[in-house]
């Protein structure tokens, strides 16, 4: 396939979960509690895209090809897109934009606190994703800032784990995937350091 089609293709694929949810909503296929389904699914897709974004660097090392990097910003922004939908559903359809109630909720319910922190971590990442912002910050500072994505993925996993009632299988799968991605980075950087030292 020609390289210039690859971006629109990945974009369309990343938009599929959204289309599927809208279709499900319009055709009444989201179950007895569609708002809950929408909230859960958008949250899950935000987490999945965070992890997919974190797969890009290992993919480059593994294949020895750097052109995977061309998808990273888009995938990261899709994580933010699904996180925004998730947040909006909570603010609008769970709390009906009642600010006092929302503040109380963030204070009282630990998993909401963690979810909120997670969203705050994603914000600077999304806001500094443009070329202009990379230029303004400088590559080094920009890269440092974007290490927040590791913390964001970790808090997203924690948020999911805290929400589950008794069956922790699913969040543990995501936590394991994140652990693999982070440990991989650690090993990779150690190796590079020792290679440059010798």
């Amino acid at each position: 396939m020609r390289l210039e089609y690859s971006k629109p293709l990945v974009f369309s694929l990343a938009l599929l979960p959204f289309c599927w949810l809208v279709y499900g909503l319009l055709t009444d296929q989201l179950g007895a509690n569609p708002i809950e389904t929408l909230t859960r699914e958008t949250g899950l897709w935000a987490l999945r895209f965070l992890l997919i974004t974190l797969c890009i660097s290992p993919l480059c090392w593994l294949t020895g090809m750097n052109h995977w990097l061309r998808f990273r910003r888009m995938l990261g922004l899709f994580a933010f897109f699904y996180a925004c939908l998730h947040m909006l559903l909570y603010l609008g359809l769970d709390q009906f934009f009642d600010v006092a109630e929302i503040i109380r909720d963030i204070k009282e319910r630990p998993f909401i606190t963690v979810g909120f922190i997670n969203f705050l971590l994603l914000l600077p990442l999304a806001l500094t994703s443009s070329n202009a912002m990379i230029k303004r910050l400088g590559g080094r500072r920009w890269r440092q800032l974007h290490r927040l994505s590791y913390l964001a993925a970790a808090t997203a996993c924690l948020h999911f784990l805290m929400l589950v009632k008794a069956d922790t299988r699913q969040p543990i799968i995501y936590i394991a995937l994140l652990a693999v991605l982070l440990v991989w980075r650690l090993i990779h950087h150690r190796r590079r350091q020792s290679a440059s030292a010798s």
């Binding site: 769970d94 909720d105 998993f111 805290m162 008794a166 069956d167």
Partner: protein
């Protein structure tokens, strides 16, 4: 309909019923999986008609017994009870149950003076209940009531809903319904009813004692660490509504808890 000519009850609410579809496809029944859609997919043929359903009544009583399902329900007149059901997760339904008062069963068993609580046990059969193959909770599921709660006229054993036999996913063939408590107190697919002197250790208390208490009365003032209990989403509605103390049954049941600190005994 499986049940005809059911008498209505003064305890029924006249609120709009939740659809049969929603009641039978949105279920917390971990014996069939932790997903809410799992029970309707896996419990359609539950219980296996080839396996007779027996109910044991024993413990601190003078007239214990083991009954086949038909023999167990035969003495009682079935009626329709339309109750609100409030789940601890913050959603609610209005369900037309078919059943009879638990008090009739308990009286027949003649509890003795040591009978302070009633413990209920769900069937343990991983062959029929695939969710029991993983230890998400300590199987079999157990629940319990104080004896006055169990004797209360609002507390029923239900054998059906919407005039039909109880669907597998809703706790066939017989389940408890305690409308002023969170849904998980209303234990499904009962095989044993036992009078005890000590407070029974219930499944959710055993699993997470800081999150779930023995009483688990619906109480908008006492939050669960994960779910605010002030409001609830009635299934089928967009806006949330205020949660009522004792799920709106306070006039009938509040007296049983007078003088108790409901923050401590949550």
């Amino acid at each position: 309909e499986d049940f005809d000519g059911l008498s209505s009850s003064e305890f029924s609410t006249d609120e709009r019923l939740t659809s049969f579809e929603s009641i039978t496809t949105y279920n917390n029944f971990y014996e069939f999986g932790t997903d809410k859609s799992a029970p309707s997919a896996l419990a359609a043929d539950f219980p296996d008609p080839a396996k007779p359903w027996q109910i044991t009544v024993d413990g601190e009583c003078d007239n214990p017994g083991v009954f086949d399902y038909q023999e167990f329900i035969q003495p009682y007149t079935l009626e329709e009870r339309i109750y609100r059901l409030r789940c601890v997760e913050g959603w609610s339904m209005v369900i037309p149950w078919v059943g009879f008062q638990l008090s009739e069963v308990l009286k027949k068993a003649q509890p003795n003076s040591r009978a302070k609580f009633v413990e209920f046990t769900t069937l343990y059969d991983p062959e029929q209940m695939p969710g029991q193959r993983r230890r998400v909770l300590q199987w079999p599921y157990k629940e319990g009531l104080r004896i006055d709660e169990a004797m209360h006229p609002l507390t029923i054993l239900a054998v059906g809903l919407y005039g039909k036999m109880m669907p597998g996913q809703n706790g066939a063939p017989i389940r408890l319904v305690v409308p002023w408590k969170y849904g998980f107190k209303s234990i499904k697919s009962i095989v044993r009813i036992r009078f005890t002197e000590k407070m029974p250790l219930t499944a959710w208390v055993e699993s997470a004692p800081h999150e779930y208490g023995f009483y688990s009365n619906v109480n908008p003032e006492v939050n669960h660490p994960r779910w605010s209990q002030r409001r609830e989403r009635r299934i089928g509605e967009l806006l949330k509504r205020e949660t009522l103390m004792f799920n709106g049954y306070g006039d009938h049941v509040a007296e049983m808890y007078s003088g108790m600190d409901l923050r401590k005994y949550f």
